[in-house]
């Protein structure tokens, strides 16, 4: 049997009072090396769910176990050696050079050598080598996303069996870069047996690059299955509109919203 990296029991998160239930998931196990796409309409609780796993939010009820230990008991430093997070957007008031931002990915790393070469390599992986000496403040949304991605790569550079949490990482990128980065991410994760959990808006990116789909609607886990096994009908139910389904000759499936 596969090794479990993350398990969730009776997880509940309320806003303000018990009337506003943001997340309500009774049981979930994530195995090492899985590639998980979290899908759902806007405001369905996907980001809150990810924040709970990232330890940014504390659950109102229930427990999240990470590597067999209650997430609430991990120290920030230990946790940073085992999981990285790429949040939706990162605004910054202070002007830091790109190379410094990326190298800050390794601020808590045990091995502090080779920082510069790792920084360079990570910038290359996220197609941002040309931004090395730029100032973050003048970058476009898509360029910032790539720099933040490189920072995450730097954090997990020498880590095995880590967990990587992404919240709509590619929203600000053009289609070519989205695919290029997903390929690099896939390779990076495979080499290090990294478990990836990503909140996505693009159904087809999920179908192309991820193994397992978690459908979240109104904070509830609607579907949890291998993406290949999830029917068009389930997608339609999740988003509440019609999809056209195409299957290419090499068995790739595409869904187009109508």
């Amino acid at each position: 049997m596969d090794k479990t990296i993350l398990s969730i029991e009776n997880l509940k998160k309320f806003w303000c009072s018990e009337s506003k239930l943001a997340v309500d998931i009774s049981q979930l196990n994530i195995n090492l090396g899985e590639r998980i796409a979290i899908l759902g309409p806007s405001g369905s609780g996907k980001s809150s769910f990810l924040k709970l796993i990232a330890n940014d939010l504390r659950p109102s009820q229930g427990v999240i176990f990470f590597h067999g230990k209650n997430l609430a008991q991990w120290t920030a430093r230990d946790l940073s050696h085992h999981r990285a997070v790429l949040p939706q957007s990162a605004a910054m008031n202070l002007e830091l050079p790109v190379s410094l931002i990326v190298s800050l990915g390794r601020v808590s790393s045990i091995d502090q050598t080779q920082k510069n070469s790792i920084t360079q390599e990570c910038l290359r992986l996220s197609n941002a080598s040309h931004l090395t000496n730029a100032s973050y403040q003048i970058l476009s949304g898509g360029e910032r996303a790539r720099v933040q991605m490189a920072r995450v790569f730097a954090q997990l550079w020498d880590v095995k069996d880590a967990l990587l949490l992404l919240d709509e990482p590619f929203a600000a990128l053009d289609p070519y870069l989205q695919i290029a980065l997903l390929k690099n991410l896939n390779q990076f994760a495979t080499e290090r047996r990294i478990t990836v959990m990503a909140v996505l808006h693009d159904v087809n990116q999920a179908l192309q690059f991820f193994d397992r789909g978690l459908f979240i609607k109104s904070g509830q886990l609607l579907v949890d299955a291998s993406l290949d096994d999830i029917s068009k009908h389930a997608f339609e139910e999740l988003y509440g509109n019609q999809f056209l389904e195409f299957i290419t000759d090499n068995k790739h499936r595409f869904l187009i919203a109508q």
Binding site: P87, A91, L94, E95, L100, V107
Partner: protein, 328 residues
Amino acid sequence: MSILGLLMCFIGAIFIGPIPIPLDAWQESAILWDIRVPRALLAILVGAGLGLAGAIAQAFFRNPLADPALLGVSSGAALAVALSIVTQTWLEMMLSDYFEVSTLHVLRSYAIPLAAFLGALTSCYILLFISRKISFASVANLLLCGIAFNAFSSALVGVCIYLSDDEQLRDFMFWTLGSVASANQQSLFWVGAVLIGVVALIYPLYQSINALSLGEDIAHHLGINLKKLQVRMILCIALLCGVSVACCGMIGFISLVAPQMVRMMVGSDQRYVMIFSMFLGGLLLLVADTLARTVALPAEMPVGIFTSLIGAPYFLYLVKKRAAAFHG
């Protein structure tokens, strides 16, 4: 280079003044050694402390316009000093039951520095509490809270003034105007000791402070113990502002302008911002004090007024520049 510049200004400053120092017998000049050197040294140390406090505060609130004086940390410290002056007789009466007269005397000499530090610390914690609810990364929020906080402390200082007698009133004037004229060995020792202590406490953390610039969430993801870091930063700001208010009263804008100018020159990497803000802060206050005691000869302006006169318009300029950067 910055050390050289500071040294040259220092030498310049101690030879400038109403009473000329004979160049052939400067070693024996009492005015030089007993008055001008301590004063210039105090100006440098306090300026350096304020510059560092500003650099830490800007990183803490992730806003390049954050300034301990503007946010009301200094006025909080001044308020605590004012309170301690007004309640001194009453406090001594209360405490005389528990302490010997000699202990009381020692307590009295530490009352003002202690009050200044506690006042600064309390203000810092209140600001931290507010910034948890209302993000200070937004300039508008920061300024509005600063205005409210400053107005509140000035009102309370006003109450203290209303309740005070003539002699206490003169004390207040000193603390609200700010001056480095009271330099002596004791004040030099305290400011120097606090400055060295704070640098030892905060400078090794420059990389964590950089990570904090990325945002609290990201710093947490990167393995930074946020609570510990923030408490340390607050403690440092409070120590620096407290000791400077205790020795020199309120001196505005050095803590804003020095780190701002450094950021323009070397960027926002805290490794450099903290060090150069100290140098520049020391330099600015030294120059300001030298000007303050010479422009209106034979009278002397309090340096706090002088820094505000120059600093306030500069601050407006910075706000305008930032607003322009956001809107087009």
